[in-house]
Assembly symmetry: C2
Homo-oligomer: 338 residues x 2
């Protein structure tokens, strides 16, 4: 019931804000309390004021207030590896007893032997094989149960907390702040849509129908008189890089006026968002805080990474186009909830 | 602005209804005034009462009140042909001067010569060729402009009105009634999603992000420094028959609790809807009114059709499973707005 109450409240708040009678009431405490005073926070507050003030030339009607968020590295950590990859590896280990052939077959052998070098060498093809072996061959309902169960048990290897408790607090505040001002918040992630949907409402307050992600194909079947959707070992759509504007257009059908990312995978989403008319907010989270979270780029001389590359060319494009770069170290007072 | 006001009002009404303080206020006038008193109307009213009464064992929280509607033949006519086919044929004629080769190439020759027999003989393969020639090769923004322009000018050949004025009045009342009771209304149609989105908000009060349909593939490109999505001559997804549950799962991520269709293309959507737990409403519009609209089946001995087949086997399944069949003749006092 709590999540329903939450949606109900969000809906009432959104209506109130849209009617411009309730917005002030929520300004008594700072809705962005975990953000340091600085240009990033100022950019957010100014954008929301401009787009929600009916007398502003930058006013945007509530129906068009679409904000899209990347997930991994933007709303929660993508290190030491993508959460979904951690899930896939756990699934491979759990399924291994039924697949004795995996002991001598890459990339499975690498997973079972914890051989990260061989796993890296398997490349993208290897990753697809792991995803297919761990994410397909069951119904959507069965997969949802497997994912839900995994989220309940799995712990982040460094922070020793459930992944679902590691959403960045400043971003949770930002999501709420936008929704309280009549925005509709979406996830637009390279991650699998059916891996995310079981947790996005609880963790981010984002309902399943506002989650856009990569898909594998499904097939409608009637099994013992009961309709099911079977997950096939076949990629449907990759919602990353140039796929993000495609996914946004296909699933949402409106261009966002605000977009948030953290890596080269988000470049085209921000370009697409920027290319519309009127006020636009484009922000990128830079992971420059090895102490409290992680530090990687290789932009700004930070270490390179396989999981969430923020290249120097992306940094250059951001500077040239006035996209706002959020420094985790400088802009966020807190990273996680205590 | 009117459509924004409409959404804003719907949002406020939905919140009010959800809080169970406002529902009575709207009962003063009959929200389903175009429906004859009878089992179809009763089924709707009973379902909405059951699912919105917090003390009912059939109560459904607002977030889960998802209702999906087929479009062609369910919300507006699909005769004498699908509206989108009429659009495609008009486009072929408009583009013909740039394609002299079409004069001697099927299925284009058939279109240009008004040869319905040859067009029928071209079959599904011919239809796909016509769609590709008329729906691809431009940006999504260019296509939206073409569609919007066409809807402004095109007239239905029998009713001599814009297609956008031919939404069935009883269904418009039903959409509003559901939304006023906290339901989220979706279109789930075999039609092209980018053909429908330019008109669904104005005609049905359904925003672009709540339209699920067939897609063609698009590709992100930067043309002269401006990001565009180019429409490719390649089918992405066919949202019909067994594709409807797939589309519902992929785009909405929740199972509907109410589904409305009119043909064999909607069978699996109704089965998928019915297979969830709790209260469910499944309805099929039967076109049995040749005088005011059209009559076709071949169910119940009505004439067969290429556009919206309601087979006897669908009718048998509906009877067996308690799906409600709406007789246009008996259940609808009015078909169109005057």
């Amino acid at each position: 019931m709590r999540s329903h109450l939450r949606i109900l409240m969000a809906s009432v708040l959104a209506s109130a804000a849209a009617l411009a009678v309730g917005a002030q009431a929520f300004a008594q405490t700072d809705p962005l309390a975990s953000w340091s005073e600085g240009s990033a926070k100022q950019a957010i507050v100014r954008f929301v004021k401009d787009t929600t003030d009916a007398s502003s030339p930058k006013f945007v009607p509530p129906a068009e207030r679409i904000a899209t968020f990347d997930n991994d590295g933007t709303l929660w950590p993508s290190h030491p590896m993508y959460t979904q990859l951690a899930f896939a590896l756990d699934r491979i280990e759990a399924l291994a007893p039924q697949h004795p052939e995996w002991k001598t077959k890459q990339p499975f052998e690498a997973v079972l032997a914890d051989d990260l070098e061989a796993l890296g060498a398997a490349g993208e093809k290897g990753m697809v094989e792991l995803v297919m072996a761990s994410h397909a061959g069951m119904s959507t309902a069965e997969f949802e149960a497997i994912v839900t169960d995994w989220f309940a048990k799995a712990r982040h290897p460094r922070f020793h907390r459930p992944y679902t408790e590691l959403a960045y607090r400043p971003m949770l505040e930002l999501l709420e702040y936008l929704r309280a001002n009549g925005f509709k918040t979406y996830i637009v992630s390279g991650g699998g849509v059916e891996f995310m949907r079981p947790m996005t409402e609880k963790v981010y307050g984002i309902p399943p129908e506002q989650v856009v992600g990569s898909t594998i194909k499904t097939k409608y079947e009637v099994r013992n008189g009961v309709p099911v959707l079977m997950r096939l070992p076949e990629i449907g759509f990759i919602d990353d890089k140039a796929g993000k504007p495609v996914g946004i257009n296909e699933f949402i059908g409106r261009r966002p006026i605000a977009a948030f990312g953290n890596s080269d995978g988000d470049r085209e989403m921000l370009e697409w968002t920027a290319a519309g008319g009127g006020a636009r907010l484009k922000m990128l989270v830079l992971h420059d805080d090895a102490e409290r979270e992680y530090a990687y780029g290789p932009a700004n001389g930070l270490p390179a990474t396989r999981f969430g590359t923020f290249s120097q060319s992306l940094m250059d494009e951001a500077k040239k186009k006035g996209w706002v770069v959020i420094s985790m170290r400088a802009d966020w007072k807190q990273i996680f909830a205590p």
